[in-house]
């Protein structure tokens, strides 16, 4: 029955979508998941507004003001908020830009690339401003559980979801953990 299902939301912030690819790698287990959970807002469903949910999976760290706004909204709406993958949990590859000032990074990307003839950093109020540093999400909001991996394998994600559905925090004692 629909009203007995848990409400699930997912989102990616500063990540590469790899963790969501891994999520889709659940394959036939997605059907099993759909039997116990409704997927509400998600890059997969393209539902924009975040309704109150039981469980939220957040891919990616916080690299700009928009990431931060969405993260805080997810935190408000989710009973249990989980960091999915190493960008959300460790900062990971996007964090490599922390060695440089944000403006230098923008200049390098938009103005100074070898393939850019007369590039300029886009300036528009609609565009989110970069945060000074890329940070894992638990440096901004309370996070209830972490699923490590770059990306976490489908098996690791499945194990973690089952633990969470059972009301436990995944400890990864039974499945091999990996940061890569």
């Amino acid at each position: 029955m629909a009203d007995e299902k848990i409400q699930l939301a997912t989102v990616w912030l500063c990540g590469c979508a790899g963790c969501h690819m891994s999520l889709l790698d659940l394959d036939e287990r997605l059907i099993e998941l759909a039997e116990v959970a409704d997927l509400t807002t998600s890059p997969v469903t393209d539902v924009k507004a975040v309704p109150p949910v039981d469980l939220a999976l957040v891919e990616g760290g916080v690299a700009n003001e928009d990431n931060l706004r969405i993260l805080k909204e997810f935190r408000r709406q989710a009973k249990v908020l989980v960091a999915l993958g190493d960008c959300a949990g460790f900062g990971c590859v996007p964090m490599m830009r922390n060695a440089f000032p944000a403006q230098d990074v923008l200049d390098r990307a938009y103005a100074l690339t070898e393939s850019t003839a007369s590039g300029a950093v886009p300036q528009d109020d609609e565009l989110p401003r970069l945060t000074d540093k890329v940070r894992p999400i638990h440096e901004h909001v309370k996070v209830d559980a972490h699923i490590p991996g770059c990306p976490p394998s489908a098996d690791v994600i499945w194990y973690a979801i089952q633990e969470l559905l059972a009301g436990r925090t995944p400890t990864f004692e039974d499945v091999p953990m990996s940061y890569t």
């Binding site: 960091a83 190493d86 949990g89 460790f90 900062g91 990971c92 590859v93 964090m95 490599m96 922390n98 060695a99 440089f100 540093k133 940070r135 894992p136 638990h138 440096e139 996070v143 559980a145 972490h146 699923i147 490590p148 770059c150 400890t171 990864f172 004692e173 091999p176 953990m177 990996s178 940061y179 890569t180």
Partner: protein, 695 residues
């Protein structure tokens, strides 16, 4: 023995052992990061903390001595939590990004993260901006990944002896630095790469393969480095059909160390590979079938001057090739070509040493390990930094850690000159004279005097120090100072190299005389003398008498046909030899790579690389070691033994060449790892003064 209890296990261990050693002795796995077997312990990383009953707080087991009656716990929930927190602090302190790291998959830090279930880092990251030092040609130092365990610092100091690396600053400002903060590539680093091998993270890594996709589990194959006569045991890691890296293995001579030639030289970029036989036709080298190439050699041997006088043929074989190849080559030159003129690029050195040793093999010479017991080393025309890097490391350990003395006799300057207790710089060509002068000065002391026979004593007494001063440019007072040091040493070792400037056996003989004058080591009975000459086949080439042809001094007019087995040497022969070879009418080259020698050859036959052959080497200690094949040989390329057999058939030899039948009989007397028991003990040799110059 101490009796203690670790994790409810009764453990007995000798006094002086640490808790970590006691635990590992009974198979208890305490996690560590800064501990490395063979290095001192500093207790820097705090991963190995344990609880001791009655102690107020956990202690690092690597620096806490085991005590009688101790009750130790190594795996409690509290310890696991502390270790996890320590790991998180390490991750928070610098920029560890596993997916972007060359070490991911075989990283000690990462593996401990998994082991302790570190799903994230609870401390805020510090995000320091840190440099990556890429100034060194082979080694990169990425401070972002450094956990300041100081394994690299300790291996560089304690085992390599150069102490290039150290730590600057305090607390969170601490940084590994080279010398006083110069780029690694401009530092005193001798490029041995030991720091890479001990680094628990990806902070120190080899640039050549840093972009390779690493698998978690790389197979390692134990073999022997062919580069020099130390004969270092090495573990070669493979990734597919390529060599990922070379690790120093715990071999009897090198004991876990290897120099730049082994670590990086064996895998450095090479010229293009020779894949097919070539023959000079109409002025250009053209690819041909092997049979056509062999026929061309046969044709040459039966026409022209060499047909009538086979002594007009000569051959050179690299000392980096194993005994089997050396032996078959000698047999081929003697019995197929019919000439006695077979040698190596080191022929003049190996001949001089063989003659100085009485023309035959000896045993009971010093070992590399003896340098760690030596209170004085005499280097004679020898710079171990050049070729035998592991010997240089032992020398430095003695100089810096044990305050051992060094007497350097060398016409030139070495990296050790500034640290020599006495430095003697004889004029070019006068080193044998100087060494005999040194013997004269030593003869003034009773124990040396008693080892000399009447005639030698008289001959030494008749020498006028002023003549020696005139000939060598060295002051008699310095020579006497060196003699005083040498005779007062309890365990002197003398290293003689290829930098002796007086041609012929006089130099090695004078060096042997000094060692004999010091007498054999009281404990081991070995003579404190090593000859350090060249490739891993240099010692067998010496004893096999592969010295009847010297490619650097021969008269090009006397050779019509030259056979060169240079293997995979990059710079196979010195310039003097290449100039002479240019004038030889017909040259047959067996080589691995497109070196400049190829253009000087009339017949080119491809040969395997060092990694593609197996064989036997004998090191400077006389130790017999088997080198294993690491990579498969291209199927179209025969090894030298096979090529010489086919060539022999083309030249009329019947039957199959049996490589082992050609190997000298003394090889049979020693098995793998044994020291050759052949000939006389070196200590029974007699002091025979070399002829003085001009005599």
């Amino acid at each position: 023995m101490l009796k203690l209890t670790i994790d409810d296990k009764a453990v007995e261990i000798a006094p002086g052992a640490t808790i970590l050693e006691a635990a590992r002795a009974v198979g208890i796995d305490i996690p560590t990061l800064c501990h490395e077997d063979g290095l001192s312990d500093v207790g820097a990383c705090r991963m190995c903390i344990v609880e001791i009953e009655g102690a107020r707080r956990p202690v690092p087991s690597c620096t806490t001595p085991a005590e009688d009656g101790m009750v130790v716990r190594t795996q409690t929930p509290a310890l696991a939590n502390l270790r996890k927190q320590t790991l998180e602090l390490l991750f928070a302190e610098r920029n560890h990004i596993c997916p972007a790291c060359t070490r991911s998959g075989h990283c000690d830090l990462q593996n401990l993260g998994y082991r302790f279930g570190m799903t994230h880092v609870r401390y805020p990251y510090l995000h320091p901006t840190l440099p990556v030092d890429q100034s060194h040609p082979q080694i990169a130092l990425d401070h972002n990944r450094c956990i300041l365990c100081t394994r690299c610092v300790r291996v560089c100091d304690e085992r390599i002896g150069v102490h290039t690396l150290d730590v600057r600053g305090r607390g969170g400002e601490s940084m590994v630095v080279a010398d006083h903060g110069v780029p690694l590539g401009e530092s005193s680093c001798i490029s041995c790469g030991a720091c890479i091998q001990v680094c628990p993270t990806g902070a120190l890594f080899e640039k050549r393969t840093s972009h390779w996709q690493h698998t978690d589990d790389v197979p390692r194959i134990r073999t022997v480095c062919p580069s020099c006569d130390v004969g270092c045991a090495i573990d070669v890691a493979l990734q597919g059909d390529a060599i990922l890296d070379v690790h120093a293995a715990d071999g009897p001579a090198n004991r876990g160390l290897v120099c730049r030639h082994g670590r990086f030289g064996l895998v450095q970029a090479r010229p293009a590979r020779l894949m097919q036989p070539r023959l000079l036709k109409a002025g250009t080298l053209q690819p041909v079938d092997a049979s056509e190439a062999y026929a061309a050699v046969a044709n040459r041997l039966t026409t022209g001057l060499v047909a009538a006088d086979r002594q007009r043929a000569a051959g050179v074989v690299s000392t980096r090739l194993p005994v089997e190849v050396l032996a078959v080559f000698k047999d081929f030159m003697t019995n197929v070509i019919g000439t006695t003129r077979a040698g190596t690029p080191l022929a003049r050195h190996t001949r001089a040493v063989r003659q100085a040793l009485g023309g035959e093999a000896v045993h009971g010479l010093a070992r590399v390990a003896d340098l760690d017991d030596a209170d004085l080393t005499v280097t004679v025309g020898c710079d171990p930094d050049e070729i035998q890097g592991v010997v240089g490391m032992a020398l430095r350990r003695g100089l810096y850690h044990r305050k051992a003395n060094l007497v350097e006799v060398n016409a030139g300057e070495t990296g050790f000159s500034d640290h020599a207790t006495v430095r003697l710089q004889p004029r070019y060509g006068s080193d044998a004279t100087l060494l005999t002068g040194l013997l004269k000065a030593m003869a003034g002391y009773t124990p040396v005097r008693d080892r000399l026979d009447e005639a030698t004593r008289a001959a030494l007494e008749a020498l006028d120090p002023r003549d020696m001063e005139g000939a060598t440019g060295c002051a008699w007072t310095d020579v006497k100072a060196a003699a005083a040091r040498i005779v007062s040493a309890e365990r002197p070792v003398l290293l003689a190299g290829t930098g002796l400037t007086r041609p012929g056996e006089a130099g090695p003989r004078a060096a042997l005389n000094l060692a004999l004058a010091c007498g054999p080591d009281a404990e081991s009975g070995r003579l404190g003398l090593m000859f350090l000459l060249g490739g891993a086949g240099a010692m067998p080439a010496t004893f096999m008498g592969l010295d009847a042809f010297d490619p650097t001094t021969f008269d090009p007019q006397s050779v019509d046909l030259l056979v060169l087995l240079v293997g995979d040497e990059d710079k196979p022969l010195p310039k003097a030899a290449r100039e002479r070879i240019q004038a030889v009418p017909f040259t047959v080259l067996l080589a691995t790579y497109e070196t400049p020698l190829v253009d000087q050859a009339d017949v080119v036959l491809p040969a395997p690389a060092w990694s593609e052959r197996q064989g036997t080497f004998v090191n400077a200690e006389g130790r017999v070691q088997q080198a294993a094949r690491v990579l498969a040989k291209p199927t179209t390329i025969p090894d030298e033994v096979e090529t010489l057999a086919r060539l022999g058939e083309a030249l009329g030899r019947e039957g199959v060449v049996d490589a082992m039948a050609s190997v000298p009989a003394w090889m049979d007397q020693a098995g793998e790892g044994d020291l050759l028991p052949v000939g006389r003990p070196a200590r029974d040799l007699r002091i025979i003064l070399p002829d003085s110059e001009g005599a």
